[in-house]
Amino acid sequence: MRKRNLILEDGTVFEGHGFGSETVSRGEIVFNTSMTGYQEVITDPSYCGQFVTMTYPLIGNYGINRDDYETVTPFIHGLIVKQYSEQPSNFRNEETIDSFLKANNIPGISGIDTRKLTRIIRKHGTMKAAIVSAEEDTEKVIKELKNTEFSRDQVKQTSTSKPYVVPGRGRRVVLVDFGAKHGILRELTKRDCQITVVPYDYSAAEILRLRPDGVMLTNGPGDPKDVPEAIEMIKGILGKVPIFGICLGHQLLSLACGANTEKMKFGHRGANHPVKDLKNDKTYLTSQNHSYAVNPDSLENTGLELTQIAINDETVEGVKHITHPAFSVQYHPEASPGPEDTNYLFDEFLKLMDQQEKKQEVHINA
């Protein structure tokens, strides 16, 4: 096994062994506490440009299968594990995580004290990092890291460049792809929706021309403020069509209504995040992956009401527009990976579209 180093911007060096691709890579380092679902994590476009540290020490146990991709090509820049399995075991296993990463030109590094690394990230926040060969000059790498500005066009990288349709007989949903997970598509198709997937920079007019019953604003990577065109688009469709936002989609909806977002210290990434629905006072376990969050104070006078919060740190986890048919959540009701407890939100989206149709009928009849 090749000796490779993981070097953090703050100067910490972790010695490990390379697997996957041998390329030198840089990225923003984050950690995820899910104990299962590494395939979904690796292929979640929201991690575009990031190094993902899995806190669970054994990764790759059940291999990589043909079903559980969240995107066709993964966008992570590196995978950091304590140990990866060279001999996975599961009836769906197709290949090892090593060969998968190799095929996708993504470097992995194993043998890392991932708990120590996680504690550093928890304490100092997410930071820039590099995976390099052990022979590389550490000082040079750190200096380069400090001087590098990571690209801010991750949404562009992960979004589809052309619209396409996933046919269905039910509701017509336009899904604005900011780096969407397949899980969202799956939940909508499960509910018979016909989905038109459009690029992130589609305008409000273009979307409305498709006469959708509802618009799905998906998850995606990076800072929502880096996608001003989407904010403009949302302003244009708000009130005209039911909207359901997830993760980045939620942040964009909030920004479009005039709220503000900010970067968190180390974000929420895992499958065990408790979120309270303020309406029924019930708490659900959710799957999360976000570095940015909506500032709760900024919701004032935006027409948005706070509907859900993370019980541990009171992060804004859900909002709803008071007058317009629009709601969004910061977490991932589509799960994959993670608990499916909030799956019902997709049903609520469908209900919202039904209600809207009735309202319009009443309006027309009147």
Binding site: P57, H273, K282
Partner: protein
């Protein structure tokens, strides 16, 4: 919602004596629950008949009733205390069944007592097979095809319909008692018959066998707001077919993808919601390894063994949270005690691998049936934590104390291939070692998978260990290889063996190269949140999280897994020692590996290291913490055995010195000691070689007591009546360690008594003397013990005290000492001296009110008894009479002979206390699970040597109105010598009625059977004893026990007698 204010007094039901399937885990969960309720300001009343637990300490509850756990006694407690509510879901199956009975009988309703937590209807739905199946069908959750039967014929009919193999599961029994796998009609008939007898509702489930599926468990919690979470999921390495209590289990699951994980999570949550569980619940599922097909196997609507394991595995205190939910709190308002910042409404994220190994009693029960199936056989378990699977597995093996610290059993090398294959397939307790052996012999992972159906993931992991072994052999002294081996969890002992050096040399090399572990914290959240939990495990990585304070520290070694001879009593003593250390202002650090116990609750000590108890692992903690010293006298033989190695490495053993232990255990030194002190002892000798044994025995004269030295609980101890028997014994003794000799003592008949004393080297106090009901010859752990002594003269008591004082002084005891005596007339013989905590410490502490382990710890740390207000002597006797009754788990261990002798066989104990001995005995017997019928029949079949004594017993039974049955010889003796009516029954195999058939037909309520000297196992006597056990009838193998029981019957029975004729005056 905040806690309920409409209730103030809560009655908590414990789980009673420890038996296989219901062990220390309920002490842990019960203690936690009681504390949680008191924290909330409730008045807690506890009912539990197990004196060995922390739970029954009067510091845990406001009021403790150590009364039998029966409807009768619970009703009495309810009448007296008028509790507002009862919490039944923390006392195992015993507590739950009892609560359900109280509900059924209307006792709770009559006294206006509410049932807290899950509703009775829900409990019934989960527990009753038929209702459960109906519910699963309603929920559309798959269950294996099955049929509920009430007769054997119904079972056979069902089998004819769906074919074999099948599983039989009796309803409402502990740890699957009486269940089993059947491959043909004969087996089905036999097991079903048994199961129907053992099931309190005469009901069995006959189920399609899904052996080979993955067995997965989910520990789930729910509150009344319908919020539900999974605390932990676990995967059994052994596929379906072996009871989960007997399986090697890892947490979290290793071979499940996210989809499979959530498929089963969804099912578990759906079930707990539909059952409306309020508290903890355990769901067992089987998953097809080749599809998403799964089955729900079982739901336990209560805190269980698995929840104790899950609590320790994750840090999430399930019992504590369950208790808070029961009084009205919801998960989103209870703070997670680990982080102190986040809420309990979350699912722990692990960043380590946990392995649980069952601990089996087959080192004791060498003739027992070692094959594993649906009947649980393990007495205890160990847990290990590592950052990789191999490390976790190997730490687990080290923790087991099965005589090997590695994945290697020397005897497995000698197995022929056929036997190896057979044993791999038909799993037994040693399978993990056999898997390793197969891999060493070059079997491929696929080959082993075909035989065992164990997931290749686990087999590959074992293979990695075997491969590393090979690398080690080829690379002696290679530091890189050494590091690699240590990262995989390979012990110094194994490296030393492979490199042919001593363990001290390996340790020295590691010191030189600085190859040492660091300690990581168990924090429920994979480091996402800052935590201050003092709960650590070792691993070979770069960052150490265990911050060493500048306080003075004391390290206490725990007693490892619960096994026969070393039970929960030692955990009790360990916990009290920790409390005393804290009281004196030291930092108390504990090391232990038993997930079931109170001592491994991280709130008990200042710091908990969840680690194997081997020299290597203990030294690592000592190197880091640099404690003032180590206390070994509370951790049973486990801790004592480490003392020598620790001292060799310069560690200070606190309290009684190693020399004292040696003088007490080394035969020759012990003799010299007693001679010097002018104390009597049975004549005896230590024989270093087997061939000198016969000569020595002949010198001493038969009967003699033979045993190997340095053993726990009288392992391999036997009373031998002739040279021929001794030869037999020696022939079976080839594996006795030649470093430790065989002891041969004159077997003295007489009364047995024991004392536990505390000494500071100057003052020695004896809180109480206990007298045994059974004469010498029955292991003290299996004897009924009485306090205060009923038959000892003051002079004898003084002699016992004198011996205790002299021995304590001579051995310079600081702490506890246990001395066993034989009393013949007014003579007091010293039988055995153990300069450490014994298993009677909790019993004696509770009945005398002296917290012995606490005071002893203070002596160990240099405090003087005189300053605590004590002076040398026996403390004043209490008014109440207390008895300790041993409890056995024979119905779970087939092929184990139930006869009592010098080798310990009991798994637990119960207490009875009252104004008179008979009343106390009655309560104790009832609490131990024995029935004491007032009428019926008794079968007598005794050895020739006991016949004269038996006659008296026969006469007494006759007077009480019992019908006597006896085998030919015994019957003849009764008729000739006693002139008492007796029904003669044939021997085993003769026409009915014979000894077995009358037991089967329920004609007798007691069996009195004593062993002919030199009798072979598997004799008629053995069959009679097993028959009695399997039919739930008391089989008494000691005439002293019989007399005690007759006394009880006598004192509780009113016999009909005509009054004497009155003279008519007038």
């Amino acid at each position: 919602m905040p806690k309920r204010t409409d209730i103030q007094k809560i009655l908590v039901i414990g789980s009673g004596p420890i038996v296989i399937g219901q062990a220390a885990e309920f002490d842990y969960s019960g203690t936690q629950a009681c504390q949680a309720l008191r924290e909330e300001g409730y008045y807690v009343i506890l009912a539990n008949s197990n004196p060995a637990t922390i739970m029954t300490d009067n510091t845990v509850a406001d009021k403790v009733y150590m009364e039998p756990l029966t409807e009768e006694f619970l009703t009495k407690i309810i009448r007296k205390e008028h509790p507002d509510a009862i919490l039944p879901t923390l006392g195992g199956q015993t507590g739950l069944n009892l609560a359900m009975e109280l509900v059924r009988k209307g006792v709770l309703e009559d006294h206006d007592v509410q049932l807290l937590g899950t509703a009775p209807e829900s409990i019934q739905k989960a527990e009753d097979r038929e209702l459960f199946r109906t519910l699963m069908h309603e929920l559309n959750e798959p269950v294996p095809e099955s049929e509920i039967v009430h007769t054997v014929d119904e079972a056979v009919d069902f089998a004819n319909l769906i074919g074999y193999p099948l599983i039989v599961r009796p309803a409402y029994t502990l740890g699957g008692t009486g269940g089993g796998m059947c491959y043909n009609e004969q087996e089905l008939r036999e097991i079903t018959h048994n199961g129907l007898v053992l099931s309190p509702v005469n009901q069995c489930l006959i189920e399609r066998n899904i052996a080979g599926f993955k067995e997965i468990e989910y520990e789930v919690m729910r509150d009344h707001k319908d919020q539900a979470i999974v605390v932990c999921n676990m995967e059994n390495i052994d596929p379906v077919g072996i009871h989960t209590g007997d399986s090697i289990v890892v947490a979290p699951s290793q071979t499940l993808s996210d989809r499979e994980y959530h498929l089963l999570r969804n099912a578990s949550l759906k079930i707990i919601r539909s059952l409306e569980i309020e508290g903890g619940c355990n769901v067992q599922l089987a998953l097809d390894p080749y599809s998403f097909q799964y089955y729900v196997i079982e739901v336990n609507p209560r805190v269980s063994r698995s929840s104790a394991l899950a609590s320790k595995a994750t840090g999430y205190p399930i019992a504590k949270i369950a208790a808070k939910i029961a009084v009205g709190y919801t998960l989103d308002e209870i703070i997670n005690p680990i982080t102190g910042k986040t809420y309990s409404m979350f699912e722990p994220a692990l960043d380590y691998v946990v392995t649980k190994f069952p601990r089996f009693p087959f080192d004791k029960f060498t003739t027992g049936d070692r094959r594993l199936g649906t009947q649980m056989k393990a007495t205890g378990e160990v847990m290990a934590i590592g950052r990789n699977l191999e490390e976790s597995l190997l730490k687990g093996i080290r923790s087991l104390e099965m005589g090997t610290e590695e994945l290697y059993l020397a005897k497995a090398e000698k197995l022929d291939e056929e036997t190896l294959n057979k044993r791999l397939k038909r799993a037994d307790d040693e399978r993990i070692f056999l898997l390793a052996e197969a891999l060493r012999r070059g079997y491929s992972v696929d080959q082993i998978f075909d035989i065992t159906k164990i997931d290749r993931f686990f087999l590959n992991s074992l293979n990695k260990i075997i491969e590393t072994e090979k690398t080690l052999i080829e690379n002696k002294n290679d530091i890189a290889v050494l590091k690699e081996a240590k990262e995989l969890g390979i012990a110094d002992v194994q490296i030393a063996r492979l490199w042919n050096v001593s363990i001290d040399e390996v340790y020295a090399l590691r010191q030189k190269e600085n190859v040492f572990p660091v300690y990581k914290m168990v924090d429920t959240c994979a480091a996402e949140f800052e935590s201050e939990t003092p709960y650590f495990y070792s691993t070979y990585e770069t960052e150490n999280e265990s911050v060493v304070t500048d306080r003075k520290k004391i390290l206490v070694l725990g007693s490892g897994p619960i096994r026969i001879g070393q039970g929960i009593e030692f955990d009790y003593a360990t916990v009290h020692s920790v409390f005393a250390i804290k009281e004196l202002g030291y930092e108390a650090i504990i090391m232990n590996n038993n997930p079931e116990t109170v001592s491994t609750d991280f709130t008990i000590s200042d710091k908990l290291y969840f680690e194997p108890l081997t020299l290597e692992d203990v030294m690592h903690v000592i190197e880091l913490e640099k404690p003032e010293g180590v206390i070994v006298q509370f951790g049973g033989q486990t801790a004592i055995n480490l003392a020598e190695g620790l001292e060799r490495r310069g560690v200070k053993i606190l309290g009684t010195g190693l020399e004292a232990i040696d003088r007490a255990e080394d035969r020759d030194k012990f003799e010299v000691l007693l001679d010097e002190l002018h104390l009597l002892r049975p004549e005896g000798k230590a024989v270093p070689k087997l061939d000198q044994a016969i000569e020595t025995a002949n010198e001493i004269g038969y009967p003699v007591l033979v045993r190997p030295s340095y053993v726990i609980g009288g392992s391999r101890m036997e009373i031998v009546y002739s040279e021929k028997e001794l030869e037999n014994y020696l022939a079976k003794s080839d594996n006795i360690d030649s470093a430790h000799p065989i002891l041969i003592d004159k077997y003295l008949t007489g009364m047995e008594a024991e004392v536990d004393a505390i000494s500071d080297g100057e003052t020695t106090i004896v809180p109480g003397i206990m007298e045994h009901i059974e004469r010498a010859g029955v292991h003290s752990g299996d004897s009924m013990a009485v306090y205060p002594p009923q038959r000892l003269s003051e002079a004898v008591k003084e002699k016992c005290l004198d011996a205790a004082v002299k021995i304590s002084k001579a051995l310079k005891v600081k702490g506890l000492i246990n001395i066993q005596f034989i009393i013949r007339g007014e003579d007091v013989y010293v039988l055995e001296v153990n300069p450490r905590a014994s298993r009677t410490i909790p019993f004696l502490s509770k009945i005398t009110g002296v917290t012995m382990a606490n005071i002893a710890t203070k002596c160990i740390l240099g405090e003087k008894l005189a300053n605590m207000g004590y002076e040398t002597g026996i403390l004043p006797e209490q008014d109440l009479v207390s008895v300790k009754i041993p409890v056995f788990s024979f119905e779970k261990l087939r092929s184990v002979d139930t006869i009592l002798g010098p080798e310990m066989k009991s798994t637990g104990e119960a207490i009875g206390y009252d104004k008179t001995l008979e009343k106390a005995l009655y309560k104790g017997l009832i609490a131990s699970g024995l029935k004491v019928p007032q009428e019926g029949g008794v079968l007598l079949t005794v050895a020739d040597k006991d016949k004269a004594e038996m006659l008296e017993v026969a006469e007494r039974f006759h007077q009480l109105g019992f019908v006597l049955y006896a085998t030919q010889g015994t019957a003849a003796y009764i008729r000739e010598e006693g002139d008492i009516p007796v029904v003669e029954v044939g021997k085993v195999g003769l026409d009915e009625p014979n000894v077995l058939s009358i037991i089967e037909e329920g004609k007798v309520q007691f069996v009195v059977n004593t062993l002919n000297s030199g009798q072979k196992p598997r004799s008629d006597g053995f069959l009679i004893r097993r028959q009695a056990v399997e039919h739930g009838i008391a089989c008494l193998t000691n005439l002293d026990t019989v007399n005690a029981i007759i006394n009880v019957i006598d004192s509780t029975t009113f016999t009909a007698k005509p009054i004497s004729q009155q003279k008519v005056t007038q």
